[in-house]
Amino acid sequence: MADEQQTELTRAFSGMGGLGVDEAALVSAVARWRRQPEKRAQFRRSFPGFFSASAGAGAGIERCEDEFVAHLEDEFARLRDAAVMWAMHPWERDARWAHHVLMHHHHGYGAAAAALVEVACTRAADDLLGARRSYQALYHRSLEEDVAYRLVKDANANVSSNWLKSRFCEWTLACTPRARSSDELFWLQLLLGLVTAYRYEGDRVSEELAKEEAKALAAAVKSSASGKAKVVQDEQVVRVLTTRSKPQLRATFKIYKELQGKTLEEDFAGEPCLQEAVKCLDSPARYFSEVIHGAFKDGADKQAKAALTRVVVSRAEADMEEIKDAYAKQYGAKLVDVVAKNTHGHYKDALLAMIGK
């Protein structure tokens, strides 16, 4: 019986096998083991991953690993983040997420930068503009300035310490003009174009134009396959993806598939920025269901797990029903079941409330 309780507490404490913390189990353990330090000691010893025995001055004290504390902080914070983000204005949310990516994850194009593509491509034109306005109000600079500058600035930075980066680097980089390699940032023009777009929101679609642009995209893919130039830098690709309206783009993608036999998404596989952009523009619901699925995978990193909160909070009142349908279609399971199984405690309850039946 004690073992069962131990396991339950272990699970509750560590968020293992899921995201969030099982607050109820923790509190009941606290109550149950009141005035029983030996029970707590037993628990610590049975949990060698996070409480390690040490010798010398630390003998007899199962020391708590700092990594574990940091991990716990993240897990406890999930509910906080979900609640705070839920309460904010959608535009402010998007601005803060974008800012977070730019300030903390600006080393090249990683999974975190995908959040920028997500915001730029899945929000309505006026909502994207609202996010840009909110960004200006919060940070006194425009979003595009920071995207262009921060991603460029740190392409060559070698300093690893965060403190040094924030104090010293800015000064030295400011004084020495750097020779920046544009190869490293080949996706920057595309990203900037996506972030500053103000797309037409109506239904009007020109079939002729769609045909023409599908052909241009096909030519770009072909010429990049022969190694001549990176497809993400192709002028036509950037122009079409960053300026055309979404209905127009979907028509173009459809014709592309008819012409080439493969979807544009498949042909852009492995291209940073491009693949996400096409997915977000063409079928956001499917993209979001993939992101959610990624948060529950084994070995999902911090960004992937944080994405779960971001997607659920931002889409709860937008296209959550479509996301549920897309998820069921893609993974053969109901989203609510998967979320219930893989999250704990109040965080789980909050997510399920947002996802709805």
Binding site: Q136, E145, A174, C175, P177, Y198, Y200, T243
Partner: protein
């Protein structure tokens, strides 16, 4: 400062509509009456007149001005009528040989609509020498530029960026699309270190003749106006001369001219527009499109400053130069907007 003169006691909107209606009836159109009314009403008043006219007579005011315009009525959410003028027809009417018709039409439109129409024309008929897009992108505030883009969606059912991207080519596209997409921060905050470092970057790229380098475009198309002004000042302090001087390597290079226009629109818009007007008037013939554009778009903004700059530069008052170079109703319209009594 504006040159537009609005009478001290403005007639009631209904009276204005009445008079305008009379101007359209009978033989031909009484242009002088139209000019004497519309040429002395500000944007809000003109909007009210258009709305009242459509409600009273069931016809868009602009349609009455030229029979060439036709289109469908669209009832807007606030239950007013809005004539959705097909882009092709409006632009044909605007480029009608009748210079004064174009002036009156452009003047009557809301500032955002006007810029949208001008931008559409500039994009569709894009040429490297065309600076209209630069003017609209750089000599308007962020909010105004955004209003232009919204008006563009409404009128042309496409985004401004897509049209510019589809028609401009090469380096020009690389510069113009981000320029019109920008939503610059409007605050006064300036980061001096940044101004210093970006001035250095600009200098380096220009020195190596990499005029269309990503960095130059990034700086010019994303930084706030206050930040850019600080950067240009630092450039001057650091390198002993203004940035535009370094951009004069090849007098025939249109891209360099475009870059210089961008910078001038930020730093000294009234002098930039003075030059456009001067070149429009000077020599044989008159570039009516340019003259109309500057006068109608700046009459409620800073045409007074432009006129002062003109007089200073050419020792002739702008009104006199315009009167000397134009005639008839066209001249009357322009002079009315210049504040001529």
């Amino acid at each position: 400062m504006a040159t537009l003169k609005v009478p001290a006691t403005v007639p009631a909107v209904a009276d204005d509509c009445d008079q305008l209606r009379k101007a359209f009836q009978g033989w031909g159109t009484n242009e002088q009456l139209i000019i004497s009314i519309l040429g002395h009403r500000d944007a809000a008043q003109r909007r009210a007149i258009r709305r009242a006219y459509a409600e009273t007579y069931g016809e868009e005011l602009l349609r009455s001005i030229t029979d060439e315009i036709s289109g469908d009525f669209e009832v807007k959410p606030d239950h007013t009528y809005e004539l959705v003028i097909s882009d092709r027809l409006l632009c044909r009417a605007c480029s009608a040989d009748d210079g004064d018709q174009r002036a009156v039409i452009l003047w009557t439109l809301d500032p955002a609509e006007r810029d949208a129409v001008l931008a559409n024309e500039a994009a569709r008929k894009w040429q490297p020498e065309n600076r209209v897009l630069v003017e609209i992108a750089c000599a308007r505030s962020s909010a105004q530029l955004f209003a232009v883009k919204q008006a563009y969606h409404d009128r042309f059912k496409r985004s401004l960026e897509e049209d510019v991207a589809a028609h401009a080519t090469g380096d020009f596209r690389k510069l113009l699309v981000p320029l019109v997409s920008a939503y610059r921060y409007e605050g006064p905050e300036v980061n001096t270190r940044l101004a210093h470092s970006e001035a250095k970057i600009l200098h380096e790229k220009i020195h190596h003749k990499k005029y269309s380098d990503d960095e130059i475009i990034r700086i010019l198309t994303t930084r706030s106006k206050a930040q850019l002004l600080a950067t240009f000042n630092h450039y001057n302090d650091e390198f002993g001369h203004r940035i535009n001087k370094d951009l004069k390597a090849d007098p025939k290079d249109e891209f360099l001219k475009t870059l210089r226009a961008v910078i001038r629109c930020f730093t000294c818009p009234d002098r930039y527009f003075e030059k456009v007007v001067r070149l429009a008037i000077a020599g044989m013939g008159t570039d009516e499109n340019a003259l109309t554009r500057i006068i109608t778009t700046r009459a409620e903004v800073d045409l007074k400053l432009i006129a002062e700059a003109y007089q200073k530069r050419n020792s002739v008052p702008l009104e006199r130069a315009v009167a000397g170079d134009t005639s008839g109703d066209y001249e009357r319209m322009l002079l009315a907007l210049l504040g001529h009594e």
